[in-house]
């Protein structure tokens, strides 16, 4: 069974009497351990697809089934709970809270999950050690380099042990070398059995993932790269 299924999903916006189909009858299956990129030019519906996959938005039509549960009719606070527990977000501009230190930033998702202080601390330290930032716990985000900030963001995304990591242009603000480090980190996560979704407009970055979903005018076309397919445990 697929981890996340989109069944005939459409998202329709109305602007000034005009109907815009940002997603047009999209059907998609994402499996555990998939390493996927979503690629498309701006205005293609890429962001909308990301929002639906990330449970930030509900589709106008169709079904979104997560772990066998249809969540297309969920309320905003139910969606918030789902995001909190099953999806880790990584953003292009890191989106760390500037007034909290590294540790507190990483603890934040667990705060919303209602974890106790001690458990939070332990898990946050563990996640930060995993991204090799165990020595910068008390630093503010603005005292870190871009690559370090993005690794903090990844630690934050991982800390509630989500099944899906959704990264929106994660290397967009980083130099090529740092970008590669981050991409390797994502590849590693997918080999650990997490579903990693990279959203990008850059074909070079999309090239690192075995499975590529191209979106154009709200419709998807899927490609599986046979050379890279062996890297990840694909569909069981």
């Amino acid at each position: 069974m697929a981890l996340l299924e989109l069944r005939n999903v459409s998202k329709i916006y109305h602007t000034g009497g005009e109907e815009i189909r940002a997603l047009d009858d999209v059907t998609l299956d994402l499996h555990q351990g998939d390493f996927i990129s979503i690629i498309g030019p701006s205005g293609s519906g890429k962001s909308t697809l990301m929002h639906v996959l990330g449970c930030l938005d509900s589709p106008t039509r169709g079904e979104v089934v997560l772990d066998g549960v249809d969540i297309s009719k969920a309320t905003t606070s139910q969606l918030a709970r789902i995001r909190n527990r099953t999806i880790g977000f990584v953003f292009q501009s890191f989106n760390l809270l500037p007034k909290l230190n590294v540790l507190q930033n990483v603890e934040l998702p667990m705060v919303y999950a209602g974890l106790g202080g001690k458990a939070r601390h332990e898990r946050a330290v563990k996640a930060l050690e995993m991204v090799e930032l165990g020595h910068r716990l008390k630093n503010r985000p603005n005292q870190l380099s871009g690559g370090q900030q993005q690794r903090v963001a990844i630690a934050r995304a991982l800390v509630n042990d989500p099944k899906i990591i959704l990264a929106d242009e994660p290397t967009g603000n980083l130099d090529t070398h740092t970008g590669e480090v981050i991409l390797n980190l994502f590849r590693e996560l997918s080999t650990q059995g997490r579903t990693v979704i990279l959203v990008t407009h850059n074909p070079e970055i999309a090239a690192v993932t075995p499975r590529r979903i191209e979106i154009r005018n709200g419709k998807v076309a899927e490609k599986v790269d046979p050379r890279l397919a062996g890297f990840t445990p694909s569909t069981p």
Binding site: L56, S77, N84, F89, L97, P109, Y112
Partner: protein
């Protein structure tokens, strides 16, 4: 999400913008300080008034006052008898609802002893009832006996301020003179002092004296100069000073030795200068006064040249004044707090506008609308409560300043009730001011918020 974390993050947010937060809090600080200061001032006023009230004879004292005869009896005006001893006897027999009837005949007196002189607040001929009416306590010696009254003996009971004037103040002499048996002149007639009242003072003054007594004097240098006499407006308030300047003589003595000899025109004046009443039961005040009125209409041949003045009227007016002061002060402080609240709302709106992306991030990683809502409310309340606590500190300084400016007997009293109300009210203002910004933040769509530049 637990509250502790929310508060922690809220305080962090305030601390991140120290100066801005301080400016924002200032409205609340002023509001709380003025609320607490105002209520302290009014409480002080109230205390002063109540103490004076008791010093003047308590709440159940009724004065029988003369008044001009009503218009329809104008032709009888020259037959109006005024208050006489007949009234007193009649009231005692005919008005059983009255507990006490105390006649007073005042003498325009000057007290002298050798070179020293004293102008008493009142020198009155009384019966023993006046002790009860005016709430006098004899500390030394005795009160008048039946024999003193019948024989119009030249004896007197004096207040401590009279003793101070004629024999010297204990503070100056270093010891207290108890002048029982001494002879003083009242309008050049020798009188023997048989008793002295206790020293009447406000609670405030009593406390200060206690402190002055228990703490040893630091050095003699400040005591070397001549002691300055404090006037009526000084410590303790006029009501107490006045009470301490009382001289009592037997009623009959006042009549025989002063009044019967006539005034400067040689006409004896048998009228009493005061009749004070107390009723058995304050609840039945109306009935008792009606009874007294009926009796007096007989002794006054139906001429209504008298009226009753109850302390109730005065208490009423005191309460009214206090209510008014409270209301106006409360309104001013309330407006100040309201303005503070608007400031908080304004800054919270600015703050969430700055943090739209942060809010979007929080929502993306799992914060519900309610959690964001609570977060903003907590920040707003934290602002107002920190402001309120600063306001309490400021109110302490304000009250100290007011204490210097206001007379001692009315010195402001900070009540914990006022402080609690002020803090609670500010918290309420904080909640209300936070509602709209919090609602706005909570209803942000995470997609829009994340996209916001």
């Amino acid at each position: 999400m637990n509250l502790f974390n929310t508060i922690f993050i809220g305080l962090k947010e305030i601390w991140a913008h120290k100066f801005r937060s301080l400016l924002t809090m200032f409205g609340i600080v002023l509001g709380v300080a003025s609320l607490v200061g105002m209520s302290a001032l009014i409480k002080g006023m109230e205390n002063g008034m109540r103490e004076s009230m008791v010093a003047m004879g308590g709440a159940d004292k009724v004065r029988l006052e003369t008044q001009p005869v009503p218009a329809y009896q104008d032709h009888l005006a020259d037959q109006a008898p005024g208050r006489t001893i007949r009234d007193v006897h009649a009231l005692r027999k005919g008005a059983p609802l009255l507990r006490t009837v105390a006649p007073q005949m005042s003498i325009d007196a000057l007290l002298t002893r050798g070179e020293k002189r004293c102008d008493p607040s009142e020198c009155v001929g009384v019966w023993a009832e006046s002790l009860d009416i005016d709430l006098h306590t004899i500390a030394h010696g005795r009160f008048f006996t039946q024999i003193d009254e019948e024989r119009a003996n030249p004896v007197c009971v004096i207040g401590t301020a009279v003793r101070d004037a004629l024999f010297g103040r204990p503070e100056e002499l270093g010891y207290e003179v108890i002048p029982i048996g001494e002879i003083i002149q009242i309008n050049d007639q020798p009188f023997t002092i048989v008793g002295m009242f206790t020293q009447y003072m406000s609670e405030q003054e009593a406390k200060e004296r206690e402190i002055a007594r228990t703490t040893p004097k630091t050095s003699g240098s400040e005591d070397s100069g001549p002691k300055r006499q404090k006037g009526w407006g000084g410590r303790g308030g006029w009501a107490f000073t006045r009470k301490n300047l009382t001289v009592y003589i037997p009623l009959n003595t006042a009549w025989v030795r002063f009044r019967a000899a006539g005034d400067k025109d040689g006409i004896p004046d048998p009228r009493l200068s005061d009749i004070d009443l107390k009723v058995h039961d304050l609840e039945k005040m109306e009935t008792a006064l009606q009874q007294a009125r009926n009796v007096l209409l007989v002794t006054h041949n139906g001429i209504e040249d008298f009226t009753f003045e109850t302390q109730e009227n005065q208490i009423e007016s005191i309460n009214k004044q206090i209510r008014n002061a409270r209301l106006s002060g409360g309104i001013i402080a309330g407006i100040s707090l309201l303005v503070g609240g608007i400031g908080i709302m304004n800054i919270m709106l600015a703050s969430i506008n700055e943090r739209i992306r942060e809010i979007g991030t929080c929502k993306a990683i799992g914060a519900t609308g309610l959690e964001i809502f609570i977060q903003i409310i907590v920040e707003s309340v934290a602002l107002s409560i920190v402001g309120a606590l600063l306001g309490l500190l400021a109110s302490g300084a304000l009250v100290k300043m007011l204490a210097i400016l206001s007379p001692m007997s009315n010195s402001p009293v900070v009540t914990w009730q006022a402080e609690v109300i002020a803090v609670a009210f500010s918290a309420g203002v904080g909640i209300i001011a936070g509602l709209f910004p919090a609602f706005k933040a909570a209803s942000l769509s995470p997609i829009q918020a994340l996209r916001y530049e």
